[in-house]
Amino acid sequence: MGGLDNFLFSFFNLKVMATYLPQIAQGLGLTVLLALLIVVSGLALGLLLALLRSLAIRPLNWLIIFTVDLFRALPPLVIIVLLFFGLPAAGLSISGFAATWLSLTLVLAAFAEEIFWAGITAVPKGQWEAARSTGLGFAQTLGHVVLPQALRITIPPLTNRTIAITKGTALASVVGVSEILGAAQSAMSFSANPSPLTLGAIAYLILFIPVVALGRWIETRFAWKR
């Protein structure tokens, strides 16, 4: 067997791929579910924290900033492992799926809070003043005037960060979740052939290329004539 044949046998072994396709597809389903949960809860929590921060209650803001910095500094894998192996020691058992969901939600929320906050502060002070001068209250001004402008500028960094963190679902394989990478790794062990990894890579592309495209679509959707 020549070098190319060897490579094809190892990474594009159609027979192995066909055998393990169902497992990888199942892994894809699990990854999609995990990713969706993380995106929804992470962005919602991030926005909530940014809105709380805009109230300018000093002790609360210190707490928010401390928490956000903590989860931005810790590697996601460390948080997952800590929750998965640490919580049972404290008498709380947690599944690998839940540990990954919770960890990546906290990480995404931390980054999203910073991005939303940057967006809110980037809206000129004059916008606040104009709205308040017409009698709109703080919450009305935030909701109708400031947030729409803030969200628009936050969409590109937010999409990037969301994709980067949801790709971290692959870390769940470390705590025994059969998402794409986990499924591919066990398939690789059973077949003694790394082709399932190729299949896994393809599954990630199938999942994330539409997400990237969606991000672009949202960017144009939120644009206004300037």
């Binding site: 916008q127 003043e129 308040r132 001068s133 005037v145 004539k225």
Partner: protein, 252 residues
């Protein structure tokens, strides 16, 4: 000797206003009273505190000390509903501050709907009328970025007058405009004045002040140095600082 009727309470009555930013004192006990239908011009060198004074009049700036009554409302009383008070006080800013994500009509509609609680249809109708009044009836569906500076400022005026305020505050409304666009904004202000609107204007448009103002107030270093009819302030200023300022302005 005929006794004149007691003077009506001024619609704007600010007394002893102080404003400190840290160690910097911007207003040093300024009084300002404006009668109904009066147009008062505030002039003075930059840093004189004139913009701060204006911004205190709707509490965008919180005075450190003093009292303000607008249309009988005690503005600085903590129990005063500031949002309710502000709908009687229109404000126009130097940099227009239109909402860039909304069309001209939507800019005017927002407070009509959310503050006055008008229905969408009614707010759209009132917004259309306000925009027509400032000469922009044909531009209602344009976004701010599609309008010239002068048109944007006229939308900002429409946004304020649509709420039917009792007083309009203008903070250097033409300073950010190219010279050829100033006329359109001043024409709208003149029309407002003729309709009887009470106006307080911080501006360097001296020709407009001469023609339209009832009274000119000259400020310097956080104090009101001199006030009077435009003919007196521009023609025969009493204070040396006023004379120097007028000379400088006239040279332009």
């Amino acid at each position: 000797m005929s006794s004149s009727p007691p003077a009506p309470r001024p619609i704007v009555d600010a007394r002893g206003l102080w404003k400190r930013f840290g160690s910097l004192t911007v207003l040093k006990g300024v009084d300002l009273a404006v009668a109904e239908r009066e147009l008062v011009f505030i002039i003075g060198p930059s840093g004189s505190g004139k913009s701060t004074l204006l911004r205190c009049l709707n509490r965008l700036e919180e005075p450190s000390d003093g009292s303000i009554h607008i249309d009988g409302i005690e503005l600085l009383n903590p129990r005063t509903d500031i949002n309710a008070a502000r709908r009687r006080i229109g404000m126009v800013f130097q940099s227009f501050n239109l909402y860039p994500h909304m069309t001209a009509r939507q800019n005017v509609m927002l407070a009509l709907r959310r503050v006055l609680g008008k229905s969408r249809a009614e707010a759209a109708e009132l917004a259309g009328r306000a925009l027509e009044r400032v000469g922009l009836g044909e531009r209602t569906d344009h976004y701010p970025a599609q309008l010239s500076g002068g048109q944007q400022q006229r939308v900002a005026i429409a946004r304020a007058i649509a709420l039917e305020p009792r007083v309009m505050l203008f903070d250097e409304p033409t300073s950010a405009l190219d010279p050829e666009l100033v006329g359109g904004v001043l024409a709208v202000m003149r029309e407002l004045r003729e309709s009887g609107m009470t106006m307080v204007v911080v501006s360097h448009e001296m020709a407009f002040a001469r023609a339209a103002a009832d009274r000119v107030v000259f400020m310097a270093d956080g104090q009101k140095l001199e006030e009077g009819p435009p003919a007196q302030i521009f023609g025969d200023p009493q204070h040396e600082r006023t004379r120097a300022f007028i000379r400088q302005i006239d040279r332009h």
